[in-house]
């Protein structure tokens, strides 16, 4: 399969870096060296790491994130033979209905979201429930860069370099009890800064809720992300903390998480509540099971242009079958879509 965990000695820069930057690698190396020279100053190091990818807006990283950057394990997971989606597209073509239903709305409206300070509640069937400031919540974890395909249920897709840590590491910290069978995530509800939550015509019952089976959450591919493209998450991409489960449709990857609960029963997810016949709990990427309103056999890899629509075949489990197919042995994926 296309995923591999490279040894630290592996250097796969050419697989993932846009060609223009690859060709100007001397300039990049030069600026990295300059960055190293000042790496004692974490905030400066951040600006430097954002330059791993072309045209990345460096952002304003909170202190804890800048501190984590130095220890980041870069390219812990990569995809081979795929170009990374340009930063501008990954940050200006978003589904984040809290900020509006148009693809451009999140980029336009999410600026008002305040991500510092941020509190995460961990509760339910856990040995160590708690209410954490995000910087304390993040303390135990080392950041890893994971370059994943992202397949939206609307049949478009991207390739994005996330930065985060495996959910399994979190579960180790909070110690689920024997009753915990599912993990439930909740997005912030704050109509003051989220115009989508003020719309009287929205079919969504806020806050946005998503969930995973506990063994799905334990899979090494499932991560909680705090960054992308070598920087902290932009607000429209789910800052400051979001889920990324690359073998499932994008709507599973809940954004701007404020609450993580370990629960006994399968949580009722937002899209199930809107249309259970269209969006299941599993939502695994599956080219053989169509959405009732459109085919899932193919996808538009973005960016596409006017003269090359860039339509390609969708892969089973979004190309991660080797890693996750065993989670679903014996499960009828047509019924459990």
């Amino acid at each position: 399969m296309l995923i591999k965990l490279p040894k630290t000695s592996d250097c796969k820069e050419s697989d993932v870096t846009p060609e223009s930057i690859y060709l100007s690698r001397r300039a990049v190396l030069g600026s990295s060296l300059a960055g190293l020279a000042v790496s004692a100053l974490p905030r400066w190091a951040n600006a430097n790491d954002a330059s791993r990818y072309a045209d990345v807006d460096p952002g304003k990283a909170p202190g804890w994130f800048a501190d984590k950057l130095a220890q980041t394990k870069w390219q812990a997971v990569t995809v081979e033979g795929e170009a990374i989606t340009p930063f501008k597209d990954a940050t200006h073509y978003n589904n984040f209905y809290e900020f509006g239903t148009d693809k451009g709305d999140p980029a336009q409206n999410a600026g008002a979201l305040k991500t510092e300070p941020w509190t995460v509640v961990v509760d339910g069937e856990v040995g160590k429930p708690g209410r954490y400031a995000l910087e304390d919540f993040m303390k135990p974890y080392q950041l890893e860069e994971r370059i994943y395909r992202l397949r939206c249920v609307e049949a478009w897709s991207m390739v994005i370099p996330w930065m985060g840590f495996p959910i399994s590491a979190l579960l180790k910290q909070v110690e689920p009890t024997s009753k915990a069978k599912f993990i439930r995530f909740e997005t912030l509800q704050d109509p003051k800064v989220m115009p989508g939550q003020r719309s009287g015509f929205a079919l969504i019952d806020w806050p946005y809720v998503e969930g995973l089976r506990l063994d799905e959450a334990m899979n090494p591919l499932a991560i909680l992300a705090v960054g992308m493209y070598g920087r902290e998450l932009p607000n429209q991409n789910g800052a400051p903390l979001r889920l990324v489960v690359p073998w499932k449709y994008g709507f599973k990857s809940v954004k701007s998480i404020v609450r993580i609960s370990l629960v006994e029963d399968q949580p009722k997810t937002t899209w199930q509540s809107i249309a259970a016949n269209e969006y299941g709990f599993y939502a695994n990427v599956n080219p053989q099971v169509d959405h009732p309103r459109w085919t899932q056999a193919r996808e538009r890899r973005l960016p596409s242009s006017l003269f090359s629509p860039n339509v390609r075949d969708t892969q089973m489990f979004n190309g991660y079958a080797d890693e996750v197919a065993s989670l679903y042995t014996g499960l009828d994926l047509r019924k459990n879509y």
Binding site: K103, F201, A202, L203, I204, I274, R293, R298, L302, L306
Partner: protein, 204 residues
Amino acid sequence: MKFPLWRLAVFVAAAIWPLYWLYEAWSFALGPDPGKVLVDRLGLGTLILLLITLCMTPLQKLTGWSGWIVVRRQIGLWCFAYVMMHLCAYLFFVLGLDWSQLGVELSKRPYIIVGSLGALCLLALAVTSNRFSQRRMGASWKKLHRLVYVVVGLGLLHMLWIVRADLKEWSVYAVIGGCLLLMRIPAVMRRIPRLYKKKSVSAI
């Protein structure tokens, strides 16, 4: 020909949008998925033109100005042109010209079926929109062209089935469409007041 400048202005106003959108797509102003944006805009353009077409008769009643009726056929034909562009864009950008998939979509997806029915109706109206057909078909022409009311319903249903989470935009079009259909009820049509006096012009 009456009102040549008025007709020309309507022509330009309707023709300019697809050209402008193409220019935007070509200059990367439509984001990473320009094809999808074009499909959506052309579809919405079709619906808006359809609603504008249906405004012409009430406007004529309201104002007594025959200029509204003069451009009614032209706008209706623009509506047909937009739906054809919408279809082509869908085939090219969404299906990637995969004809076997088209068969699947046509047989399995209610919103595609409804949309195609609407487009077929518009085709029938466009083909019979000339004076020759009008003369040849006589009274049945008028009956056939009442299909336009059905098309409004099909178009709104087609759009409703695409909505995923927020009904606001759809509701606006549905209310406008509903009002325009309501005005077709003879009792309502007769009660549309004349805003200012002018010699009466017969409306078709």
